[in-house]
């Protein structure tokens, strides 16, 4: 379903990804771990289509289509979702209106009927209950004044309502206390399904207690340098990335 081959990407003049290979099949949850500066966030931005990241070599194929040719909104329509490490504050736009615009945009893209206001409210409330999100949060401007935990729960809510087939979670655990981590982790786990692949990008193992991965990769200096099962993450937690950093250097 997602097939990345020999991916090279640079930001400005600096090459960050240096020949990355990765294949994720439908329904699988993969974790990418690695030291700071390894290229974890760059990978998530390249996959979601952010400007300023130039692919110089390699291919990314998603459900048989060339992902790299698509505008960000088209990728979303095709089922790619990025949960941001730092969700962006949008003053003056209520969370509810934002969610409705997003959901109706992807529904339109997918040839499904758009929700009216009443149906949408019902649809959203089913999801907010699970994530412990109150109506007051939906009325507030997108991410404005949200706590770290609220921001990440809002990201998972967006993921739930947009129903992606490929979810990229970029450092979703950053800035979360233990309780928030549990709510977010359980929220994400509830969204696992045979049709939905996930790529969980994280520096620490602790998120993976809640979102248990099928495959764990180590990313260092722009390449996948090791791959294993969930036990690899536990090892990394114990021993750190020192070995990989040296290997890469």
């Amino acid at each position: 379903m997602l097939e990345i081959k020999n991916l090279h990407a640079k930001v400005g003049d600096t090459e960050i990804l240096k020949g990355l290979d990765l294949t994720i099949n439908a329904g699988e949850v993969h974790a990418i771990m690695g030291p700071n500066g390894a290229g974890k966030s760059t990978l998530s931005y390249v996959l979601s289509g952010r400007e300023g990241y130039e692919v110089t070599e390699g291919t990314v194929s998603y459900q048989g289509k060339n992902l790299l040719d698509m505008e960000p909104e088209v990728r979303a329509g095709e089922g790619v979702f990025l949960a941001f490490q730092y969700p962006v504050e949008i003053p003056g736009v209520s969370t509810m209106n934002f969610l409705k615009a997003a959901v109706n945009s992807v529904r339109k893209y997918r040839g499904e009927s758009e929700f009216d206001a009443m149906d949408f409210l019902k649809f959203v409330r089913e999801q907010t209950k699970i994530l412990n999100i109150g109506d007051d949060m939906l009325k507030r401007a997108v991410n404005v004044g949200f706590s770290g935990g609220e921001k990440k729960r809002a990201e998972v809510l967006q993921m739930a309502v947009l129903a992606p087939t490929l979810a990229l979670l970029d450092e979703t655990d950053s800035g979360l206390d233990v309780d928030a981590l549990r709510i977010v982790g359980e929220g994400v786990t509830a969204l696992r399904s045979p049709e939905r692949s996930m790529l969980v990008i994280t520096h620490y193992q602790r998120l993976l207690d809640y979102i248990v991965p099928d495959v764990v990769h180590v990313l260092a200096d722009g390449k996948i340098v090791d791959t294993g099962d969930k036990n690899l993450a536990i090892e990394l937690e114990k021993n750190g990335y020192a070995n990989y950093s040296e290997a890469a250097a």
Binding site: E73, A76, F84, G92, N97, F98, A101, S105, A141
Partner: protein
């Protein structure tokens, strides 16, 4: 007099030729004082510090001698939901139109009428207030208005609360290229509460000058909400001068949405003259083409323990130009003053321009004053965030601009009336 520019001289000549409908010694004297003040220097030029960024030579295209007729189609005047349209006054080219207006029933303590009528029915009350706040030294545009005082609206509220807003529509009928000078009076006393929703529109093709002035007196716990929508036609020129004086625990809320016309200059001067006085000055301006939009404000904190909060935001496209001049003056001894001012502009094209000039003059020790000014493009990070959620780029841009501007509406307009302005902003975005 011989030094006046032709257009200034034309205004002076015209004033001498007008047969004003109302006359009284004090009123004639007031007009005369306005005329003399205006005649000394004529229209302001960019040589004056306050007029550095706004040039009124566009007025050369206006025929000052014309006074338009008043045939109008009433269907063009509807803009409020019916439940809000309960006290309506319509003015065409500055003159009250009773057949288009419906003032309705008013509670005790509330007077709403045209100035032309008030001058006939309540001359003493008008004399007591008119021209009292509007000192026009260094204010040539207000002096010009004063020279032509004839009609406008009068709202006086004493110990009363008006549940529904007073609706005012000023129509400029462009085909006559006329100049008109509505003069308006708002007086609220003794915990009175009143909301005025005002719309300025231009109908027909061609230029005109709508030069309105407002004297606002708010005293003893009274609260005035004064919301204005400026929708002039493409060649229309809208000048307005607000002079507000606030007494003890009085609040004056002003919101202005400037969205069309060739040139507008909206000048507001609020003087907080007793403890507990508070003013909220808010505004949104949107421009495209070669529109010019000037918002100039001055807040005087004269005595201790008064406060002001001011936010103006704009979005400028095409070759449009915005001007924001915001001054806060805290007098010697006015301790406990809290004054906050902010101006933010989104520049949607490379050719759009904003000239922002903050001015804080603080002569007291114990005050809190802050100002912030920004101008820039849409935030790429925000744009990417929305697009990554499937929202197409054009819609994402509109959402961001509207959200940016709607914030001021939410801050500056009571909840019941926010949609009136938000809808206008959305329409402006969609028409671009």
């Amino acid at each position: 007099m011989s030094n006046l520019s032709p257009i200034s001289q034309a205004f002076v000549d015209q004033q001498g030729a007008v047969a004003f409908s109302a006359s009284a010694p004090w009123l004639d004297q007031l007009r005369k004082a306005g005329l003399e003040s205006f005649s000394a220097d004529g229209l302001p030029t960019p040589k004056l510090e306050d007029w550095k960024y706004t040039n009124l030579n566009v007025l050369e295209k206006i025929d000052a001698g014309q006074r338009g007729d008043a045939a109008i189609d009433s269907t063009q005047l509807t803009w409020l939901p019916t439940e809000l349209a309960t006290h309506k006054l319509v003015f065409v080219n500055g003159r009250f139109q009773s057949e288009l207006s419906a003032i309705g029933d008013l509670p005790k303590g509330v007077k709403v009428l045209a100035l032309s009528e008030a001058l006939a029915s309540e001359p003493g009350l008008v004399e007591e207030h008119l021209g009292q706040i509007g000192g026009f030294e260094k204010a040539p545009v207000l002096a010009l208005n004063t020279a032509f005082i004839e009609d406008g609206y009068v709202v006086m509220v004493d110990k009363a609360e008006l549940a529904t807003p007073i609706e005012i529509v000023f129509v400029s009928q462009a085909k006559n290229e006329a100049a008109h000078h509505p003069r308006n009076l708002i007086v609220a006393k003794n915990n009175a509460r009143v909301t005025i929703l005002e719309r300025h529109i231009g109908i027909g093709e061609g230029g005109y000058l709508a030069n309105s002035a407002f004297e606002v007196l708010v005293e003893d716990g009274a609260h005035v909400q004064h919301y204005r929508l400026l929708e002039d036609s493409a060649d229309g020129i809208n000048l307005s001068s607000v002079k507000a004086k606030l007494g003890k625990d009085a609040t004056y809320d002003s919101f202005v949405l400037s969205m069309s016309g060739q040139l507008s200059r909206n000048e507001i001067h609020v003087s907080c003259e007793a403890g507990g006085a508070h003013t909220n000055l808010n505004g949104v301006y949107v421009g495209r083409g070669d529109q010019h939009i000037d918002n100039t404000t001055l807040i005087d904190h004269v005595v201790p323990n008064t406060s002001s909060k001011e936010t103006y935001k704009g979005a400028l496209d095409g070759k449009s130009r915005g001007v924001f001049q915001g001054a806060i003056i805290v007098a010697d001894g006015a301790d406990g003053t809290d004054g906050r001012m902010s101006n933010k502009t989104l520049l949607l094209s490379d050719d759009a321009e904003i000239d922002a000039k903050p001015q804080l003059e603080i002569y007291a020790d114990d005050v809190q004053c802050a100002h912030g000014f920004t101008a820039g493009e849409l935030d790429e990070n925000s744009l990417f965030y929305l697009r990554s959620r499937g929202i197409p780029e054009a819609i994402a841009r509109s959402m961001l601009v509207e959200g940016f501007l709607d914030e001021v509406v939410e801050e500056g307009v009571a909840e019941d009336y926010q949609d009136i302005f938000k809808t206008r902003i959305a329409d402006w975005m969609n028409s671009g």
